[in-house]
Amino acid sequence: MANSLHNLLLGFGVALTPENFLYCWIGAVLGTIVGVLPGIGPVTAIALLLPLTFKMTATGAIIMLAGIYYGAMHAGSTTAIMLNMPGEPAAIVICYDGHPMAKQGRAGAALAIAAIASFFAGCVCILVITFFSAPLSRAALSLGAPEYTSAIVLALSGISVLSRKSLLNTIGMAVLGLALGTVGTDTNSGVVRFTLGEMRLQEGINFVPVSLALFALVNITFTLSRDEPKMSIKTRFRELMPTWTDMKACFMPMVRGTFIGGAMGVLPGTGPLVASFATYAVEKKSAKDPSRFGKGAIEGVAAPEAAANASAMTHFIPMLSLGIPAGAAMALMLGALIIHGITPGPRLMVQQPGLFWGLIASMWIGNLMLLVLNLPLVGVWIKLLQTPYRIIYPVIVVFCTIGAYSGRNDPFDLLVMAGVLLIGWVLESLDCGPGPLIFGIILGPMLEENLRRSMLLSHGDPTVFVTRPISLAFLVLTVVVILLFTRPLARKESPDPASQYD
């Protein structure tokens, strides 16, 4: 314990140098802007800024990139609440209750609670990282291929079930996503699948244009087809602070969200997105009056926001302790470290204490900065978002276009984005949620890999998933989650559509 504190002091020494402090600040501000603007997410921003970091020290680079990441996490809920457009995918859940709250004139309270929940979760999880990095990654090492397979199945089911739309259709989207993930070179056999001769698909369908299309462009298209896009929300600033009842109601959800999110963030694949959905489900199920959710329940903002930020923080653990990225953004940061000549792995803590603890110390600093950026300065962001929609959306379209193009400097990715726009438009009109599709694309290769390895290990015996205890636990959870959420749908005889949990 004393050792960790000593290291932390060392870290602060590194993080508080003017140079690193500046990088932290830039990261936090950029992250907030990126998080607030739909169409550009932290992954895109990190990808875009990566080349800049070549000229910085490794420590400075990772401090800034990390700042962008959790800054975007904090801020993604702002557009979710104000415009019903998530700033980045993990904020989708915040739309469900945050936007109704804004429509009821309580945008200020929602935004404030989101900022407070983020700060709380961030602080708690930085403590967790500080004291538990080593033992936690040792525990994660005991997970084998069957456990990973079941975990991914759980994640996919969870995200399908928690969508507001038709369950069957949404699971279909998840499977479709998995199928799209198979396009490209199969890493196991080297066989190139389903590319129809198109060379640029050999590395698979780049998920960045897909996600930009599904989450930003389709939304804009739907909004444009309504006659009067009235997207500016009037907030009365007297209502900026949540009431005391609000705070009391949010405390336990915040704690639960932090706990669930923190745990899920450590597992690769399950990150802020899954964590926020899972927490929302738990809150809804354990609430005294579940019908409040979806209409402006403040717990529906506090808990997922806490979970998303908690998992964003603990997301760093596998990368820092094991050298395994837990998500796309982490993979990029890993790349940045490698370019600087540092190979992350279990020895990072020992070989580069300045970098490791400097990063953690900068997280504390960044978290504090973000509280300032998101609370008192939230007025600035609201003003920014109160520009009439008809001026905002072309900006988003152009950013999406450049964002998709800049990934590989290939116009083909733009055509992918355009194609997904069409398909996504059709599918969303049919009540198929887009979230699971992205999930499927990203997790597909991992699922296939682990499924294959599990079968190899067990010599083709499928019972391996239920004979190993942790894997069984995940699968049981999957069944539980599905059953819990399809029961209301089974009562389709009731003529009142409002009684559906949607």
Partner: protein, 156 residues
């Protein structure tokens, strides 16, 4: 129109149509993956997982179709205009066409013109300023600061 006709004949068209789409994609996927070595459960070939997914999608599609036909509550298809979709599509495609042939300025121009199609006649000046502001911003931020290899004009 077509949507009205569908809405009056079928009560839950969303499930039905989505189901049909899934059935078609699932079947196509299943048959397309026969091209690759399927292997066995123990040694999965490149075709195994896609074939499995294809079957799964097929099954889900069938379930959705059944659910759609048996539905008791009405859940009609939404009426969405097609024009915004077409314009957005053209906006992106035109950008992709022009960015390497004519540079950022021209490509952005097309992109914005299509995206703001409704205002071209009513508020052209506003559109122009959006174009100007965005292009300058993008030029400075992405090309100067981030040093991305994007042509500004066709002669760069």
């Amino acid at each position: 129109m077509l949507i009205e006709k569908i809405n009056t004949t079928i009560k839950a068209p969303k499930d039905l149509i989505a189901g049909l789409i899934f059935i078609v994609i699932g079947a196509v996927l299943f048959f397309a993956s026969q091209k690759y070595d399927i292997g066995s459960a123990r040694r999965m070939g490149p075709g195994y997982f896609p074939a499995l997914l294809g079957l799964l999608l097929l099954g889900l599609g069938l379930a959705a179709v059944v659910k759609g036909l048996r539905a008791k509550t009405s859940d009609p298809l939404p009426h969405h205009q097609l024009a915004p979709l077409l314009m957005m599509f053209l906006s992106i495609v035109s950008f992709s066409f022009f960015i390497e042939r004519a540079g950022l300025v021209i490509a952005s121009a097309f992109c914005i013109v299509f995206a703001c199609y409704r205002r071209l006649l009513t508020k052209p000046i506003e559109v122009f300023f959006i174009f100007l502001g965005l292009t300058v911003f993008n030029g400075v931020v992405f090309i100067r600061i981030f040093e991305m290899p994007i042509h500004v004009f066709w002669w760069n």
